[in-house]
Amino acid sequence: MDDILVIGGGPAGLFSAWLAHRRGARVRVLSTGIGTTHIMPGWIGVLDTDGDLESALTDWIDLHQHHRDSGSTAPHPYGLTGLDSIRAGIAALQELCEPAGLHLVGGFERNLRLPTALGAVVPAAFAPESFAAGDLNRPGSMLIAGPAGWRDFFPALCAANLRRQGVQAEACTFDLPEIASAKFDNLSTGLARLFDRSSVRERVAAQIRAQLNGAMAQKILRIGMPAVLGLDDYPGAWCHLQDLIGAPVFEIPTLPPSVPGTRLYNIFKDALGHAGVQFLLNMPVGRGLWEPGRSEVGDAHPGVVSGVAVPVAGSAVRERVYRAHDFILATGGLYGGGITSNHRGELREAVFGLPLTGTRPMPEWFGDRFLQAKHAIHDSGITANDQMQPTRPDGEVLYQNLRVAGRLLGGYNGPYEGSTEGVWIATAYRAVSALLD
């Protein structure tokens, strides 16, 4: 029997599994499929603020720890984890990524300001080193370059929008004849595999160098390119290209599938594989098995999860049961499939039917404006305590050996707080610490 069974193969699940293994636990991961690693931009957003990140976080946590007692919505995950778990979680992630050559740079003093493919500017606390030269806190004009005719990156539009915000930016394209072939995989990942080849990098670098030596000349201090600079040969491909061009090169994330996210996924997968942790894909957990708790006056006895059942493919009735001492539920939110919804406006936690908070009548889930609305649906999710145990809204623990991490938690609006990555990192770290400390 495993010590810890992790349900969910997204970033929160995989990170939890690695953390638990590192602490000496016997771990296994079950996942329906690949998670949100493959759509993540690649940077680590902790909190959207222009000022000092650490003091903003401290204020935020103070506010939300006090708010916790007020009831109706779930407490903010940072209020549960505290600043320590955010810091320690990111340090652990850096430690995991370091040997694979993925250096996460940044800090808690001030957010990096990174350009998007559209030329907007997004704040993030940390980012891969291959993003860092794009930080707009640093001065220096840039050249945005991309393959001519590629559908997922438009250098001229990116540069024009940056210029409209006062950034000195030029644009150019380079020829990459491979992408015109009917057989070419036109996604970011296809392009990244091209950049794994040194001959491709040499051709591209020669074209960009020619641009730099031309009319726009000496004033360019850094080169921005779509985040496709190597997949298997990362960071080698990026470093090599930078050396060939002779100027700092930075990556800009674009439409999914995400190459930076795929790199992170591969790091997780390889680390777990080397550690002998089973990571089983195509394992949709159908239901949880548990002994119910008892509630007596003044004395609550939480239930105990005994296992989870996965339907056997091709059979309507047979299922395979996985048992463990402890369970980490990291199945994601409405996007990831940890919470399901139907046309009657019912939301349900998919495995245990855990109570959800922050839910509202269906017409209030989304606002009428697509991009300004801070849609209320984001607030819905599981309520947990500071041990990351799911609780009823009144704080009563439901199952003593179950922890929750990641987007399944309620009480936060990741996209609009800029906290998406910070929350999965901190809650995974906190859940594992609470189990193994």
């Binding site: 997922d152 024009a160 999914p256």
Partner: protein, 524 residues
């Protein structure tokens, strides 16, 4: 561009487009004036059913006869916009079993072929239908793409020296000595207003016809009736399905391309601009769909939208389902003492050509033009390069097209198989590619963003191509992308649950988290 015309036709829907073409074919200098894009009003918001007339046979035989006659004509003159799906009328357990015989007799009266088939035959052809269906009749319904029809009408008008002025709103009519002599039109993009002089005006503004007639002091009371439709992400059926009962809510299911559209509701609205979709309407469509196709409400719904029918009865007061679907051509000289103005209102998409013919007849009569209507025989042009041996509405058309070209170039919209070359061509032909609504116009031209991802991926790609080709600067491109994303959102917003909700969260992630569109100053 000339500012003098023989006839100004107001309204870029099927009726206005048809009337303008009819007049152009009779040798008149016409201008078609539309405040938005062609088909932006009711014509582009319909379910896509080319009626056999069966729906109206029992209650409104006059409309039914018009429908079957026009159905036969349209199949001949605009074949590239019509998929000959055929149709069934079925008696489900929720329908009065006695109605079928009454209905079949009414169809015979109107000359509509309605052959009864066995339930076994029905289920063999359409296995998704309710197996407890008791009666089934085959009728000559078809599925019709109104965007393609209007594109063809617009091209034909221009080919016959007519002008098509989209994004030009009529803000006033000039009335001199009891006669309409011109119109003040505002260019929506520049905000500039100028005068168009004309001998006659045809008011084909549909649900907005009352407003236009009012500008000349003529009272016309249109009763706008809103109908909501839902496009489901699966085709379900290859034949149009009608419930065999008096017309009601959610009793038509139309296969259109890769999707199936269920419609409609009928809600009287005071404001013809009210195309809001209410929650009860969506629930009603899903419930009614379930009666035709078991499991319907569990399937993924893609988009909901509403169109506003321009119901009209001269002197009558019936509204909604009670109102007849026939049309009226109003001679305002006779009716109100105002010359130079004709209003054509009411009717169905299916009968647009007949409405146009009657309106054009009256105009020619008043202008003393002696030229016969030839639209019954005038084959509308297919502006795409047709593939030999392949019907344009065959589902595999676009794929076959891509594969035949060998060098397909990258797909921009994977759901609807739109290529970069398609976008570039449509942009080059667009009268104002820097306008904020340009991507939505490309959608009508190309079906860009109409598939399951609802613009999540292709929006950025199409915007990038616009900018790269110099059609729009960055500011204009951002505005166009924000406009497109918001319009796609409007149709998804009432349907966000299950898989569609997950897709919407992915789209939000792309636009907000990855691209940061809303962080740009005009990006929302």
């Amino acid at each position: 561009m000339s500012n003098e015309f023989d006839v100004l036709v107001i309204g870029g829907g099927a009726t206005g487009g048809g009337t303008a073409l009819d007049l152009a074919l009779r040798g008149l200098r016409v201008a078609l004036v539309e405040r938005h894009d062609l088909t932006d009003g009711t014509s582009g918001r319909y379910h896509g059913l080319l009626h056999s007339g069966g729906r109206y046979a029992a209650r409104d035989p006059e409309s039914a006869r018009e429908c079957i006659e026009e159905n036969r004509i349209l199949r001949r003159i605009v074949p590239h916009a019509i998929e000959d799906t055929g149709g069934f009328f079925i008696t489900t357990p929720d329908d009065d079993p006695d109605f079928a015989d009454t209905w079949a007799a009414a169809c015979r009266e109107c000359g509509i072929s309605a052959e009864e088939i066995s339930i076994a035959q029905l289920l063999q052809e359409e296995p998704a239908l309710n197996p407890h269906t008791s009666r089934a009749f085959r009728v000559p319904d078809a599925s019709c793409d109104s965007f393609d029809v209007l594109t063809a009408l617009g091209a034909a008008i221009q080919a016959h020296q007519g002008s098509v002025l989209t994004y030009h709103e009529v803000v006033d009519l000039d009335v001199t000595d009891g006669r309409v002599t011109g119109a003040m039109v505002r260019n929506q993009r520049t905000g500039e207003t100028h005068r168009l002089a004309t001998s006659m005006v045809v008011n084909a503004a549909g649900a907005w016809a009352g407003r236009i007639a009012g500008m000349a002091g003529c009272p016309v009371t249109v009763r706008p009736s809103k109908g909501t439709m839902v496009a489901m992400a699966y085709r379900f059926v290859n034949t149009i399905i009608n419930r065999c009962h008096l017309p009601g809510d959610g009793d038509i299911l139309v296969p259109v391309g890769t999707v199936a559209v269920i419609g409609t509701t009928s809600v009287n609205v005071p404001d013809p601009n009210d195309t809001s979709v209410e929650d009860w309407e969506v629930r009603k469509m899903l419930e009614e769909g379930e009666k035709m196709v078991p499991g319907f409400s569990q399937a993924r719904a893609l988009r909901a939208w509403a169109g506003v029918r321009p119901l009209y009865e001269e002197g009558g007061s019936a509204a909604g389902r009670e109102a007849k679907r026939t049309f009226a051509v109003l001679d305002h000289l006779q009716r109100d003492g105002v010359g130079g103005l004709v209003t054509v209102v009411g009717g169905k998409f299916t009968t647009y050509r007949l409405m146009a013919e009657r309106a054009a007849d009256l105009v020619c009569n008043q202008l003393d033009v002696d030229a016969p209507c030839i639209t019954k025989e005038f084959i509308l042009p297919d502006v795409r390069q047709p593939l030999t041996g392949v019907k344009p509405h065959w589902l595999g058309y676009r794929l076959a097209h891509l594969e035949e070209e060998r060098q397909p170039g990258p797909l921009v919209c994977e759901c609807e198989l739109v290529t970069r070359a398609d976008i570039e061509q449509a942009t080059a032909e667009h009268p104002d590619p820097a306008a904020p609504w340009v991507l939505d116009d490309l959608r009508r031209d190309l079906r860009l963003g109409m598939g399951p991802c609802q613009g999540g991926f292709c929006g950025y790609r199409a915007a990038g191509i616009l900018h790269e080709n110099g059609a729009a600067n960055a500011e204009q491109t951002n505005a166009a992308l924000a406009d497109f994303a918001q319009r796609r959102w409007k149709g998804q917003r009432p349907l966000l649950w299950g898989q569609g909700l997950r897709q919407a969260l992915l789209d939000e992630h792309i636009y907000h988290d990855i691209l940061g569109l809303d962080r740009l100053d005009n990006g929302t």
